[in-house]
């Protein structure tokens, strides 16, 4: 079958079904479906039922591996009472959302919010569609709707022994007035949600058929490679296009904005080769001499600076510590980290004066649309973004769409020609939006019985919101900096009741741009607090678990997950010979998590992580096997950072350019992970991120137990774990 597909100029639904279909055509263009006016009418924004009984569930959030697409479909299908085997999914576009008064609500897929923040309205979408479908059947039979039942998409009127199907009544249902009172099921009665169902998006990932953004191909498409100024804040001074314009395949050499140069060529490899050969002179600007060492000194000054934003204050911590029998003090630090998604940043764009269209993997289609509109100079109504499955997101593809601005800028200079921009790994590594850099000084006071009477925790370092969302600052304070350290409450609260407590933040922002990095500020805060809890317990001569428990009486959910890992790991019972245990717990993204790590350290200082027991209380669990996958994966992300991850700055630029200098975990490093999923009901927490925060401190505490070496400066990397 050969058929040339052209990007539609109409509104259309970008769907996974359409994506698969497109593969059989001559060109790989996902997101092409028929005019919706000609297609099966939707029951509502969330549900389309086709005459063949296929149920199409619309998914507004992005799928990047975290399983949200399947989980959201489960929630809709649960209330819809349809046959799960007939469920397929599709993405509405942000342009459609805009045109329909944001009927799909928020597209943003970060902060582990994909399910927890949309569960209510997507379930109502499913339930409302079910009510309309059953109503349509009842109307057709002229019987009261209350006499009808439905199971797996088959509607039955028991009294007259008649039945029909969703597919048959869908057209009539679509014409009904939507209900306003939409009761939802008690999660205890769920049969689709809450079950460990297989993901809906696996098949094409096993055969190479899955089209990611980087794989997109369009008629007449050209490929672009780009270099942004290696020093953040620098600009292009000049470049000698003539040196590469004659190279094979090269079509254009152009400046992109103030700070970047791109080569557009027939193939990406040709574009990259020419770009590598292109002489570029940079104006490196005011940050040309910046370094990690210099900025570390700035943060160090902040540790004792008189001014700081207060995040959590109880009693008089400094007085309590001054009056304590024993004082414990420690300084920790965590470095910049790159997200390092496996699929580098990329996007494809077509610009004409009438329309700007972008195909890209994004965690936030609406933010990508805003970036496309801004870069194209067209109103958002004349732009649209077609999302593709992401080859990893981890926060990099959410808040800032720098690569979308770039590709639209290039496409605008070459109107009508589809331009695919792919960042090299080197570009991706050196132009990230990095996990903020932070130092932390903790001081604790113990009384004669070893009770913690006061604690101060001074954070000094980078604010994400100051750079990414300055409007969210509160009189200059970044409230997100205190993630996991907040006063008691439903989000990111500290699990310890300390009678005198002061947690504050001396904001110190380097020139390196920060971003939301999977786990965000919960990561470093949990490392600081949970390692220091171990230090306090040791100073008090107490067992780290018992020491924590005494402070957690007012935090039963925090305590429950901690107790669960301690029990399953066998805390207090002998570990295998040479193996030592460490604990950590935290609360963030709405969920309670804890971990117990088992490690050994050889005489020569080689670390082996044998086993991790991890517990999660997310309130409600929508797909237990995918939650387990997220928890396991969190240890890879969290421990890659703890063991190896570090982006350093020299001469204003990031030094690490690829996986050879920015190593990450491999199969051989991976411990056994035993997960305990213990949803206690009554709230909705996220699962993609919180566990990352306990990975590092559980392992660091276990390293201490094994060696009496306390790692306070991350990553562990080549620090000596044996002092002898």
């Amino acid at each position: 079958m050969t058929q040339t597909l052209r990007p539609s100029r109409r509104n259309f639904i970008a769907g996974s079904a359409a994506t698969a279909g497109a593969l059989t055509f001559g060109f790989h263009i996902p997101a092409l479906a028929a005019d919706p006016k000609a297609a099966t009418p939707e029951i509502n924004a969330w549900v389309v039922v086709k005459p063949d009984e296929t149920v199409v569930v619309r998914i507004a959030r992005s799928e990047m591996g975290q399983g949200t697409l399947t989980g959201l479909a489960q929630l809709v299908a649960e209330e819809l009472e349809c046959d799960w085997n007939k469920v397929t999914t599709e993405y509405p576009t942000p342009g459609q959302n805009l045109a329909r008064n944001r009927v799909w609500n928020n597209f943003s897929t970060g902060g582990s919010r994909g399910i927890r923040e949309s569960q209510d309205y997507v379930r109502k979408g499913g339930a409302a569609a079910r009510m309309m479908l059953v109503q349509a059947a009842a109307d057709g039979w002229k019987v009261p709707v209350a006499e009808c039942t439905v199971e797996k998409g088959v509607i039955t009127h028991g009294a007259s022994k008649r039945n029909t199907t969703y597919g048959k009544v869908a057209a009539a249902a679509a014409k009904l007035t939507p209900p306003t009172d939409i009761p939802l099921k008690d999660p205890k009665t769920w049969t689709i949600a809450g079950k460990p169902l297989k993901r809906l998006d696996t098949a094409d990932k096993l055969t190479g058929k899955q089209i990611y953004g980087i794989d997109l191909k369009m008629p007449n498409m050209l490929n672009a490679a780009i270099k942004d100024c290696p020093v953040f804040g620098g600009k292009v001074k000049s470049f000698d296009a003539a040196k590469v314009e004659k190279m094979p395949g090269v079509k254009k050499v152009l400046q992109v904005g103030d700070s970047a140069v791109a080569v557009v060529a027939a193939t990406w490899w040709q574009a990259k080769k020419a770009l590598d050969a292109l002489p570029i002179v940079w104006d490196e600007g005011p940050n040309a001499t910046a370094s990690s060492a210099a900025f570390a000194a700035v943060m160090k000054e902040g540790l004792d600076a008189p001014e700081a934003f207060v995040g959590n204050q109880v009693g008089d911590a400094k007085a309590a510590i001054a009056g304590a029998v024993k004082k414990v003090e420690a300084v920790y630090s965590t470095p910049h980290q790159n997200h390092a998604t496996m699929e580098p940043m990329n996007a494809t764009a077509i610009y004409t004066p009438e329309k700007c269209e972008v195909w890209t993997p994004t965690q936030n289609g609406e933010a990508a649309l805003a970036a496309a509109a801004e870069a194209s100079g067209l109103p958002p109504a004349k732009c649209d973004v077609y999302k593709l499955l992401l080859g990893g997101g981890f926060g990099r593809r959410g808040a800032v769409h720098d690569w979308v601005r770039q590709v639209v800028t290039i496409a605008k200079l070459m109107p009508g020609t589809p331009i695919k921009l792919i960042w090299s790994r080197e570009e991706d590594m050196t132009h990230g939006r990095y996990h903020p850099v932070m130092q932390c000084k903790l001081v604790g006071g113990l009384d004669a019985q070893g009770n913690l009477v006061g604690m101060t925790m001074r954070l000094s370092g980078q604010s994400i919101l100051a750079a990414v969302a300055p409007a969210a600052l509160q009189n200059g304070k970044d409230p997100a900096t205190f993630q996991g350290l907040n006063p008691p409450g439903p989000e990111a609260s500290i699990g310890y009741t300390v009678p005198n407590l002061l947690i504050d933040h001396a904001m110190r922002n380097p020139h390196v741009p920060p971003g939301f990095w999977r786990g965000v500020n919960l990561n470093q805060n949990t490392i600081f607090l949970e390692c220091f809890m171990d230090e306090l317990a040791n100073a008090a001569g107490q067992d780290p678990l018992e020491f924590r428990r005494k402070l957690m009486a007012n935090s039963p959910k925090h305590l429950a997950v901690l107790n669960a890992v301690a029990e399953k790991a066998g805390w207090g019972k002998p570990a295998p010979a040479g193996v030592f245990r460490g604990l950590a717990q935290t609360m963030g993204f709405g969920s309670y998590v804890a971990a117990c790590a088992e490690v050994s350290v050889s005489d020569k200082g080689a670390l082996k992580i044998h086993r991790i027991v991890a517990a999660t209380d997310p309130g409600h669990a929508v797909n237990p096997q995918q939650i387990n996958a997220q928890v396991e994966g969190s240890f890879v992300y969290g421990l890659s950072a703890a063991l190896y991850g570090e982006c350093t700055v020299k001469n204003g630029r990031i030094e690490q350019e690829n996986f050879d200098s920015y190593p990450v975990m491999h199969m051989e490093d991976m411990p056994v992970v035993e997960t305990i999923l213990m949803p206690s009901g009554g709230f909705w927490g996220g699962v993609g991120e919180p566990t990352i925060a306990v990975a590092a401190p559980a392992v660091l505490n276990a390293i201490y137990a094994a060696t009496k070496v306390r790692i306070r400066q991350l990553p562990v990397k080549d620090q000596k774990l044996r002092t002898a």
Partner: protein
């Protein structure tokens, strides 16, 4: 003009001989299941088989290929009629992929491993499978390798199944 045998089919490609096989597969031949991850043979997302050997195609210029070398990509793994390879089946059964971007390389590396060492133990797996996965699927990958190895065993070597 280079003559490449890819998945049993000969392709003539007109391309700079220094071009890495990865980009020839993706941009000249149109096989995009083989992924770009690092370009320096570190991550394994571009793993293909060359004469049965798992090879990182991003660092293999086509000029370096032996004449007649048989190249197999993820698209050539399924059997006739599209029946999935036992490794792909194991991956499906255990729901291994998360984002999936690294998984075609993981699967190709695994197939090569099990072809050469059908009884690969954990140490063999650790040595052979050095692909990077940022989502963190390693434990399911390991389970998938073991399940596939089990399913690849000749029928006679399989323990007798219990009768229901």
């Amino acid at each position: 003009m280079a003559r490449l045998n890819i998945n049993g089919k000969v392709h003539n490609v007109d391309v700079d001989p220094e071009t890495p096989l990865l980009w020839v597969l993706r941009e000249q031949v149109g096989l995009t299941g083989t992924k770009y991850g690092c370009g320096i043979a570190q991550c394994g997302a571009c793993t293909v088989h060359i004469d049965g050997q798992a090879t990182r195609s991003c660092a293999m210029p086509i000029a370096g290929l032996a004449e007649g070398a048989k190249i197999r990509t993820i698209e050539g793994l399924a059997g006739k009629g599209g029946e999935l390879h036992p490794v792909q089946k194991a991956w499906a059964e255990l729901d291994v992929p998360q984002c999936g971007y690294c998984q075609t390389g993981m699967i190709m590396a695994t197939v090569a491993l099990l072809d050469q060492n059908p009884t690969a133990n954990d140490d063999d797996i650790n040595t052979a499978i050095t692909n990077i996965c940022r989502c963190g699927t390693f434990n399911r990958v390991r389970a998938g390798i073991k399940l596939a190895a089990q399913n690849l065993k000749p029928a006679a070597a399989q323990p007798a199944k219990k009768r229901a």
